[in-house]
């Protein structure tokens, strides 16, 4: 749908499908749970900061899971942490999305073989929408992951599945 700013010559009525409108509203203001785990969190911070500016996609960090739409798993998930992340996820209101950032959150990363205290992929605990590869992913890669998530939200439907 894109930006409607300055699209009309005078005030007007817009007719849109409720699905499109809702999806557009959702994907344009994805609030992120401000929550960092490891090295990737630093790249996540760099993405939020001045140079890459996450804000222009409507992503604003929220400290409370109750107000967040997306949780970015930014780093290695350990067994001690996994249950906490699950609880954070459960506290988030629907609709909620998960971006798994970096190799560690995807599959254990460099710790896959000898990491006796590392969870080999966050998808063993909570469902993931977008995987962003890299160790750590560049901020551009994270932005690409976010665009992919927006693409996914754009095609969501309100219809009841049979």
């Amino acid at each position: 749908m894109g930006l409607l700013d300055q699209e009309f010559s005078d005030s007007n009525i817009v007719i849109a499908k409720s699905e499109d409108l809702l999806n557009w509203a959702r994907l344009s203001s994805i609030w992120q749970l401000s929550f960092g785990l490891a090295c990737c969190a630093i790249e996540m911070m760099a993405t939020s900061a001045s140079h890459y500016d996450f804000d222009r996609f409507g992503v604003i960090p929220r400290p409370s899971p109750r107000q967040a739409d997306v949780i970015l798993i930014s780093g290695t998930v350990t067994l001690k942490m996994a249950t906490r992340i699950k609880r954070l996820y459960e506290q988030m209101p629907d609709p909620k999305y998960i971006i798994s950032m970096g190799s560690c959150a995807n599959c254990g990363g460099p710790y896959w073989e000898h990491g006796y205290h590392v969870l080999k992929g966050i998808d063993r605990v909570i469902p993931v929408d977008v995987y962003v590869p890299g160790c750590p992913p560049r901020p551009e890669a994270l932005l690409e992951g976010l665009l992919k998530l927006q693409e996914k939200i754009r095609h969501e439907t309100l219809r009841r599945t049979a």
């Binding site: 067994l79 001690k80 249950t83 599959c107 073989e113 006796y116 205290h117 969870l119 080999k120 063993r124």
Partner: protein, 176 residues
């Protein structure tokens, strides 16, 4: 002051105790101390006028993995003599000299006095050594696991050489 001179002072102060000077290693030399004298030696090293080792730089547990095969009377082979070690790296900020201690403990009963009362920073280091190797530090104020979860399996110490990764923890699969 060189480690040799410090060793001489120690030998004079504790005539009943045994000190072994281990310098076959190419870089750092160690003084092996009898575990039962460790606390007295540490207090002495910290408080003696011309030693004043006021900082514990590092404390590390090590699994020596040095068991040897022994035959008992019936001719069955078994492994014996395996030890866990604790290394203490001391440093004096005042005189800028270093001194390295080591104690060796049998793996069946790895117990040594805690030096937390001497240097405060030993607290977490000792908890880590307990967590990773199962070394018991006597009279430690709070000897519980530090890095691993508190409900991690008892008797499972990851940095021991014979450690095997458990299959599950709290219903989560651990191996890849």
């Amino acid at each position: 002051m060189t480690p040799e001179e410090t060793l001489e002072i120690l030998k004079n102060k504790f005539p009943d105790s045994e000190f072994t000077y281990d310098n076959e290693l190419p870089v750092d030399a160690y003084i092996i101390v009898n575990p039962k004298d460790l606390l007295d030696v540490c207090f002495f090293l910290r408080d003696e006028e011309n030693l004043q080792f006021d900082t514990l730089m590092n404390l590390s547990g090590v699994d020596d993995n040095n068991a040897t095969k022994v035959k008992d009377e019936e001719g069955n082979e078994k492994l014996e003599g395996r030890t866990l070690s604790v290394y203490y790296h001391l440093h004096s900020m005042k005189f800028d000299h270093k001194f390295y201690l080591k104690v060796s403990l049998p793996i069946e009963k790895p117990e040594v006095e805690s030096v937390e009362s001497v240097w405060k920073c030993a607290d977490w280091h000792e908890r880590e050594a307990y967590d990773m190797f199962g070394i018991i530090f006597l009279n430690h104020p709070n000897l519980i696991r530090i890095l691993l979860p508190y409900d991690w399996e008892d008797g499972s110490y990851p940095l021991r050489k014979d450690f095997e990764t458990p299959e599950f923890y709290n219903g989560m699969k651990i191996p890849y």
